[in-house]
């Protein structure tokens, strides 16, 4: 029973509220019969803070912020209104940046492992000892196993470029980032279709299909904010997701698609657009290649067929395809970010790219726009030549189209475990956490057991740091000076940001740049780090003499942004110089040149009924922030989303602890019994079930996704494939 209500404001009330001051005065008098006596409140005084500009580091978005500093302490982080990419916002995580800086769980000094690996026994050592030790161990590994015997892994960070630079100078091809556990399948698909990775201009779009993306929770600036404002302006947003996410809740339309069948939906859309000739024939002839082959390919892939695969009614698919085409070119299939879902994720995302091509939305307002020029200069160098280097990366040729500068973490790990094609015995890790993000944690552990030396530079004792021989304390972003980074904001173009320290480094922390520079000095590589960050930034900004002053003043610099449509008449960066509906390169390599639908594989084991899908909320960025003292109040543990009908069959009730198991591992967590997920699917947040003793809020709390996920990868680009695992679920204590 409702015991309250919303009360509509009457016209008379309204006039009282919004009218001129005379009526407002009268209104107050009317209300005075029951209103209590008002008193003069003491005047508040403005905080005595200094405001310093910086850039958020709680996820990859890099939102501009203003740090409020009182007597040397950051008391608040506020959005920088001049940083338009974020639409003047700072999310919960951004606000919790203060809690990260002052987190008691921070690593405070260099720590040397003294117990067994992973046992958690450490000895504080000096920086001189730490650098000396790391340099000599890296030297030993280079001498014994070639320089490619060192693997370098760096996460998303404004100094990560220096890790790649160091690896190149040191002489190792083996560099991985977080991206091969995240977004490479999508990049592969769009590069192989359009020749680049275009950005969605959500702000000007009239129709957006959001599939395989939960953009109102996994925030991407400006897309997340623009989805809301576009809907307010009448745009339609359709969400396809097996889960009733917040994106689904707020979308114009939500379809609980059977997981793994997005390609069937896209091919049926292509079928409708092609058979009903809803495309711009001139555009298709001039700018795309392979329309005839695509037409034949999708001839039988009707909405009725797709209904059987996706569970979405054929009439709805047909209608949505027509609506999408009617709104073109200001319409799109949203490309998405994390695409590490299935073994054929590149082909799934190719089908997304193909529908966009049929909409003719490339370089058009409301469509997909090419990355805008940022004008940032590369600080190039001539890397040394080492005669004994192996021919390439350790994961080279393990899949047909590896991104050479990113590699594949899953396949690199496999090579390290096998010691083939050559041994890797050392690992330098900066601010990335494969023990919490790479599928099948026990394999990451197995990989680490092969190593002679592992050093982790991080702000916290992550699960990966917990396994290291040497842990070096990094400062938070608020304590750092960073090089310039270019960020893209859809059609509005690029912007440039940098960081200057808001407060001095806390404890004994040192930025990874200083660490690499010190190591370079010890290893005879000083010439590759013969600069400091200010000098590096000047070189980066050589094209914009005014930029440094503006960055100091505003915290952001906007290079000139040419209008959209500049690529009209220019060749695409593909072999045919056109948008490749039919990918000739794939044909040459024996891959499917058009995306061939394969139904998602059924569970091989009747006891494992539930496909595990993962994701995140707007309050956390995986394992890097679940231990944050403020954010842990929002997400104190992860829960297993379990459909209410499935739960009834299993005898699981709200809040029961359930045991989940896959061939990779097992876990225990509480069940969230809900109608918000399909019966065949379960979901949990990443970043829980940590093993590190340095993580107060997440160690042993909830279940770890990487304990459960099987080690699958995209067969074209080696990106991880983390929706390929089926779980058994049972109530704890049940037979």
């Amino acid at each position: 029973m409702s015991d309250s209500e919303t009360k509509r404001i009457s016209r008379r009330d309204f006039l009282r509220l919004a009218g001129a001051s005379a009526t407002a005065v009268a209104a107050t008098a009317v209300g005075a019969a029951t209103a209590p006596e008002a008193k003069a409140a003491p005047a508040a005084t403005a905080p005595k803070w200094e405001s310093r500009l910086s850039v958020c580091d709680m996820c990859f978005n890099r939102c501009g912020l203003i740090a409020r500093v009182e007597r040397g302490v950051i008391t608040k982080l506020d959005p920088n209104p001049k940083f338009t990419k974020s639409r003047g916002m700072l999310c919960a995580r951004g606000n919790a940046g203060v809690a990260q800086v002052y987190d008691p769980d921070r690593v405070k000094t260099p720590l040397l492992r003294v117990g067994k690996r992973g046992e958690g026994k450490w000895k504080a050592i000096s920086w001189d000892e730490a650098i000396e030790l790391a340099a000599s161990r890296m030297q030993d590994i280079a001498a014994k196993y070639t320089r490619c015997g060192m693997l370098f892994s760096a996460g998303a960070d404004m100094q990560s470029g220096f890790v790649s630079r160091f690896a190149e100078a040191f002489g190792s091809f083996n560099v991985t980032s977080h991206e091969s556990l995240c977004l490479l399948s999508g990049n592969r698909a769009f590069v192989d279709t359009f020749g680049d990775v275009p950005l969605p201009d959500v702000k000007n779009s009239k129709y957006v299909i959001l599939a395989g993306a939960n953009r109102l929770e996994a925030l991407v600036t400006p897309d997340s904010m623009d989805l809301v404002s576009s809907m307010g302006n009448g745009a339609k947003v359709v969400v396809l997701d097996p889960r009733y996410t917040k994106s689904a809740a707020l979308a114009s339309e939500w379809h609980p698609i059977r997981p793994g069948t997005d390609m069937a939906f896209m091919l049926a859309c292509a079928h409708v657009i092609i058979t009903e000739k809803l495309y711009d024939a001139t555009y298709m002839a001039e700018r795309t290649s392979g329309l005839d082959k695509l037409s034949a390919h999708v001839a039988d892939l009707t909405p009725e067929w797709a209904e059987g695969e996706t569970g979405i009614p054929a009439a709805d698919i047909r209608r949505m395809a027509r609506e999408l085409a009617a709104a073109a070119p200001a319409s799109m299939v949203y490309p998405g970010r994390r695409t590490s879902d299935y073994e054929n994720s590149t082909q799934i995302r190719r089908s997304f790219a193909i529908v966009n091509a049929l909409l003719g939305n490339y370089d058009r307002p409301g469509g997909l726009v090419p990355a805008r020029p940022a004008g940032l200069k590369k600080v190039a160098f001539e890397p040394p030549w080492y005669d004994d280097s192996p021919p390439g990366r350790v994961d080279a040729k393990s899949v047909p189209l590896l991104f050479d500068d990113e590699g594949s973490f899953v396949l690199t790990r496999e090579a390290v475990i096998k010691g083939a094609p050559y041994p890797i015995k050392g690992w330098f890790v900066y601010k990335t956490n494969p023990m919490a993000t790479a599928p099948e944690r026990r394999k990451t552990r197995e990989m680490i057991d092969q190593l002679d030396f592992m050093v982790v530079v991080d702000i916290a004792m992550s699960d990966t740091a917990w396994m290291a021989d040497l842990v070096l304390p990094a400062p938070s972003a608020m304590e750092r000076q960073d090089p310039v980074q270019a960020l893209q904001s859809g059609a509005e173009g690029a912007c440039l940001v940098w960081r200057d320290p808001v407060i001095p480094p806390l404890y004994e922390s040192r930025p990874v740049f200083d660490i690499l520079k010190a190591l370079a000095g010890k290893l005879g590589l000083a010439e590759f780090f013969d600069f400091d960050i200010p000098a590096y930034r000047l070189k980066q900004l050589a094209a914009f003499p005014e930029a440094a002053e503006i960055l100091k003043r505003d915290g952001v610099f906007y290079p000139p942004n040419p209008p959209l449509g500049g690529t009209d008449g220019q060749p695409f960066k593909t072999p045919s110089q056109k948008i490749e509906l039919f990918c000739s390169r794939y044909a040459d390599m024996g891959l499917d040149p058009l995306p061939v639908y394969q139904p998602p594989k059924a569970s091989p084991d009747a006891a494992r009924k539930f496909r595990l899908v993962v994701g995140r909320s707007a309050c956390i960025t995986q394992g890097s922030s679940t231990n944050n003292p403020l954010l842990s109040e929002f997400e104190p543990e992860n829960l297993l989303w379990l459909n209410e009908d499935a739960a009834r069959e299993l005898g699981v009730r709200q809040g029961d602890v359930v045991q989940v198991e896959s061939p990779a591992g097992k876990g225990e967590l509480k069940a969230l019994v809900t109608p918000k997920i399909r019966r065949d699917t379960v979901y949990m947040l990443s970043g829980f079930g940590s093993i590190s003793g340095g993580l107060t809020h997440t160690r042993g709390v909830g279940a770890s996704i990487v304990e459960l996920m099987e080690s699958r990868f995209d067969s074209i680009c080696g990106n991880s494939a983390i929706h390929e695992t089926f779980l058994s679920v049972k109530k704890k204590g049940a037979a």
Binding site: M1, S2, D3, S4, E5, T6, K7, R8, I9, R11, F14, A18, G19, V25, G31, A35, P36, E37, A38, K39, A40, A41, A44, T45, A46, K76, L77, D78, S86, R87, G88, M89, L90, C91, A92, R93, N95, A96, V98, A99, L216, L219, M225, G232, Y244, K246, A248, A249, W254, E307, I312, P313, A618, C619, P629, L630, E633, Q654, V673, P675
Partner: protein, 270 residues
């Protein structure tokens, strides 16, 4: 008489439940772990017909809120010490921490669950529209940080303010959440305005009738004020009232265990 009337006008259709406002508030105001000065409530989505006789969830809606700085606040009448009062300058409902004895009456008197007893300071706490930030020329933390600008703040007596303009542009479509109950007008005239059909709407509770505190306010209040005035006795008075009030008053709008947001979820899954 207020020269200003500070209010929040919320387009809850824009709210994505990201918790940015809650994190910003907590950080800006040093609010203790486990309690919150503001919240986001989740409406229970309707069950609609899906394909092939199935059912699926319809549109969801999230509703940000906080102390509504009512024109006729039940909390003020419930306060035995005069610690809670209406600011003459800007219409906000203010707590004087020096006068609050932590008795918890105001907490029960608020139909919106906007008040809680701070577990550290042991006195009542709630949204105050960030007066220090306002003095620095900034919007309240929750407003400033909101990703979709669902929360709009300003002086609605000033027709030029963003809040007043938003109200004017939505004439006839503005609603308030109020408590509903038999035999009495429970409308505290909140200054929290929602555009269009906000939801949920069934969450405000009947306040514990402030009139039942009349004795307290009339008889005890002067004595307590006198006692609080003497510092040593003040401590005794506070302690006494807290013991009398028991643990019942310690609930807050977003408390980790019994928060409004959680309640909404539980309704939903019940």
């Amino acid at each position: 008489m207020s020269t200003q009337k500070l209010a929040m006008v919320i387009d809850s259709a824009k709210c994505i439940d990201c918790k940015g406002c809650m994190a910003a508030c907590k950080q800006a105001n040093g609010v203790s772990r486990g309690v919150w000065r503001n919240w986001i409530k989740e409406a229970m989505p309707p069950l609609e017909n899906g394909p092939a006789g199935s059912k699926k969830l319809g549109h969801g809606h999230f509703q940000p809120g906080a102390c509504m700085h009512c024109d006729e606040p039940s909390c003020i009448q419930a306060c035995p010490t005069g610690a809670t009062y209406k600011s003459a300058a800007d219409g906000t409902v203010v707590i004087d921490p020096k006068l609050c004895i932590g008795c918890g009456n105001c907490i029960k008197a608020c139909p919106y669950g906007a008040r809680f007893r701070d577990p550290v300071k042991r006195i009542a706490d709630k949204c105050n529209y960030c007066p220090e930030r306002r003095a620095a020329g900034l919007a309240p933390a929750c407003v400033d940080t909101c990703p979709t600008k669902a929360r709009v703040f300003g002086d609605i007596n000033d027709p030029g303010s963003d809040a007043a303009k938003l109200l004017a542009a939505n004439q006839g479509k503005v609603v308030r959440v109020i408590a509903k109950g038999p035999g009495k007008n429970w409308d505290t005239k909140p200054n929290m305005y929602y555009l269009a059909s906000t939801a949920p709407d069934g969450w405000a509770v009947q306040p514990v009738d402030p009139l039942s505190f009349d004795f307290l306010t009339a008889v005890v209040a002067p004595a307590v004020k006198w006692a609080v005035g003497l510092s040593g006795l003040g401590v005794l008075a506070m302690l006494g009232r807290q013991l009398l009030a028991g643990a019942g008053g310690a609930h807050g709008p977003g408390g980790s265990a019994d928060g409004a947001d959680k309640d909404a979820k539980e309704d939903h899954h019940a």
